[in-house]
């Protein structure tokens, strides 16, 4: 079984909730628990708000959220065409922030997802790729 969807939103903080609900709804076709869906929602909120706050720095732009299920995996790709991340390794450190914030967004995403990759180029933008598998399915594999 494969299924996919793509949500494209204006970079407005009003749309964070939209992204969260859309991705969680899409994810719910797999056997995620409510707690796992909450983790997915936090990851999406963090990713999208990073694109809005850091990537576009309150300028306007578009954020693309691709969702795909294949087998029992959920893949989510969040992409902006903002300023890019200068030092990806540093950005992933807890408490690292360039905007006087908490510096935990990327740490949360990493801890809530089974796989997490960042691609970024200065002045080109940032793409986050995340994969999550329901714990229930992982148990069955073992």
């Amino acid at each position: 079984m494969e299924n996919k969807a793509k949500l494209t939103i204006d970079s407005l903080s009003d749309n964070i909730g939209l992204a969260r609900v859309t991705v969680a709804s899409f994810a719910s076709q797999l056997n995620f628990t409510l707690a796992e869906l909450e983790e997915i929602k936090v990851a999406i909120s963090e990713a999208v708000s990073n694109s809005i706050i850091h990537g576009y720095a309150e300028e306007s732009g578009e954020i693309e959220i691709r969702m795909r299920v294949y087998g029992e995996q959920l893949e989510i790709i969040v992409k902006d065409q903002g300023c890019g991340i200068e030092d990806i390794e540093a950005a992933c450190e807890p408490a690292y922030t360039t905007a006087g914030r908490m510096g935990l967004g990327l740490v949360f995403i990493d801890s809530f997802m089974d796989k997490f990759e960042i691609e970024s180029k200065a002045a080109k933008g940032t793409t986050l790729k995340m994969i999550k598998i329901p714990a229930q399915e992982k148990k069955q594999i073992n």
């Binding site: 909730g17 969260r20 969680a24 709804s25 719910s28 056997n31 995620f32």
Partner: protein, 77 residues
């Protein structure tokens, strides 16, 4: 359940309608009861099927009643 009810009552934005709250409640109650019955955490599909409410509508309702701050509590504690 009492605690969930109190939480919902105390943290409800006015915009959240009664029926959304009802849906969210039912989902949380059903989660607990399935958890007790099967002694494992049910997935959303099981909750949705048991309630006869679509999984997307449950996602929407749960998101609407959510106090965003509470999301982070488990991490900070």
């Amino acid at each position: 359940i009492g605690e969930i009810k109190r939480h919902l009552r105390d943290n409800n934005p006015i915009r959240v309608s009664r029926s959304l709250r009802d849906t969210a409640y039912k989902a949380l109650q059903m989660k607990e009861s399935l958890e007790n019955k099967k002694s494992k955490e049910p997935n959303l599909n099981e909750i949705a099927e048991e309630l006869g409410i679509s999984r997307e509508d449950i996602v929407y309702a749960l998101d609407a009643i959510q106090d965003p701050i509470s999301l982070f509590e488990p991490i900070y504690h």
